[in-house]
Symmetry: C2
Subunit: 333 residues, 2 copies
């Protein structure tokens, strides 16, 4: 692999996304993408006593599903990259503690899935045969941790996004028939001074724009190169903002750009306000929906850009702004 | 680079640790390693209003110190790996938000420094000229978040460790005169059922032993290969446990093994019970003390194994055990 331009890495022998798996919660099961997920749950607990334990079970079973689908034995996997939104990433570390595979914990907030895939791809080209990537989020554990106890029934402002209950995971392999990860453009932390913890789309949009424009400049590509440019998870508000920012910089992404948080819920019927969010949103929508679109050759070239808000509830209480980040990977047949 | 044995990666052109920097707090400034750190602070706030903002300032200024010492311009750094103990790793993301370098957030609890160096080394051999690694911890922000408000003045049990206030950082470079990172052995999550959140040494010891024995088996090396085998941060109790575990598996590490958490404080005078801990312990002790020992050729071959406890306060409240992890890198002149 080699660096091209300012911050893009191009692979000489691009890693294959060998297989993906996803499990989502009950609200996601009522959304427009329900049929693409490997499993949908009837309730947010899945037989566990707490939401945190349920989230751990979701990521664990998603990885188990992936391993049995893929035909790759667990001892053929050289390492695992995983992370989530819970404090100290306990969904991943408890969910995957029995995996018995070298484990790299990563944290990029909602950008974690693409961060994992980026680092996994680097390992796959350099030393690994197979790398596992996984991430999760859970509506109830996230609300409890970042906002208010659900029991309070607080009203959510229209700009707020709905954290997806779900997990996505994939195996990246040195050899295979594709889809291939051809480039990665890891993002810088961008803080434009947004302070509203209920408007993550606005906080993360500048990071998305920075990474996307850098990707275009580094690779010499333009928006029309891709069949699909997909963010995860800016939601409706962030989506509109980035279309405007990109237009102001001379790029028209209106026709082939969409967002995982927009796609996973039905705006009219599901009342999720600004759309979905959470590591599990990008993770499950890519692993469930987009991977199948690539396999069926309905999409041949896509750019997946996952965005994250690198804050916590203490930083907001201390008057801090919300730094954003966005990592991009191009996936081609 | 190539994989050797079960989980070790050997570098063909080993990355150089070009330079290191460290800043520590007032208690560390009274410890036996004080003179090795770039800067020591007079108080835990460093002019900031909160402990979290102080921790962010410590990691930020450690990185600034490193960059000005190293002579490497910021735009020559291809990417940064950083993480810390605060929820959602806000010390790193706020402290390094103005860095303007592609940023990979990592979380391995107290193993984060070696996790960062491991991933940084992989990037350095594969595409990067220079990679920055950084980590921090802060006694007050950690106590507040993981245990009790400091204002309560709770008594700490004798098995508890003292989170180091400090940060360490290093630049890894493709070419240089060493010290070189020659191999990495990333660890698996190991959970032996320890539940006592005030005895992290016991919880992390089995992960240390697993990674160390695997490293010996993968490389064909034995304890006497190294001038120093250093854990970060098992403390006094964990240190005794791993000497026993290793002995039971036929390895005598008594003569050349020590621990960053044991070294940073004076047991007789400083009353830190089981010794130091926290990402910043291994980070600052390696960056401050051991890097200079390597430069002065007092140590020629060392194995640095940072250990982490992958739990949070919610997991303990929900009756969970404490999974541990340990990542190893061998550093040679």
């Amino acid at each position: 692999m080699k660096k091209i331009g300012k911050q893009t890495i191009q692979f000489d022998t691009p890693p294959t996304i060998l297989d993906c798996a996803s499990i989502v919660g009950p609200k996601e099961a009522q959304g427009p993408l329900a049929k693409y997920f490997d499993q949908t749950l009837d309730d947010e607990f899945w037989g566990e006593k707490t939401w945190e334990k349920a989230e751990s079970k979701i990521i664990k079973e998603t990885v188990n599903t992936l391993i049995s689908k893929s035909g790759i034995a667990i001892d053929e996997i050289d390492c695992c990259f995983a992370g989530d939104l819970l404090n100290q990433c306990i969904s991943s570390s408890f969910g995957l503690r029995e995996l018995n595979v070298p484990f790299f914990g990563v944290f990029g907030a909602c950008s974690t899935f693409v961060e994992s895939m980026s680092l996994g791809a680097i390992c796959t080209e350099s030393f690994a045969e197979h790398v596992l990537c996984a991430t999760s989020s859970h509506f109830c554990s996230a609300e409890k941790q970042f906002r208010f106890p659900l029991e309070l029934g607080n009203q959510r402002p229209p700009t707020s996004q709905w954290t997806v209950t779900g997990a996505g995971s994939c195996i990246l392999s040195k050899s295979g028939q594709g889809p291939f990860i051809t480039t990665i453009t890891p993002g810088k932390i961008i803080d434009m001074g947004i302070k509203d913890g209920n408007n993550m789309g606005a906080a993360m949009a500048p990071a998305f724009a920075d990474t996307l424009v850098t990707h275009f400049l580094d690779t010499g590509r333009n928006p029309s190169y891709y069949d699909a440019i997909i963010s995860g998870d800016l939601g409706y508000i962030g989506k509109e903002i980035v279309i405007d920012i990109l237009a102001s910089q001379g790029y028209n992404i209106k026709s082939n750009y969409n967002d995982c948080g927009v796609l996973i819920f039905d705006k009219a019927k599901q009342d999720t306000h600004a759309g979905g969010s959470g590591c599990g949103c990008c993770g499950s929508v890519f692993s469930g929906y987009f991977f199948k679109q690539l396999q069926e050759k309905k999409i041949k070239k896509m750019l997946l850009i996952a965005t994250g808000a690198l804050m916590n509830s203490t930083s907001s209480q201390q008057g801090e702004t919300i730094p954003g980040i966005a990592h991009a990977i191009s996936i081609e047949l």
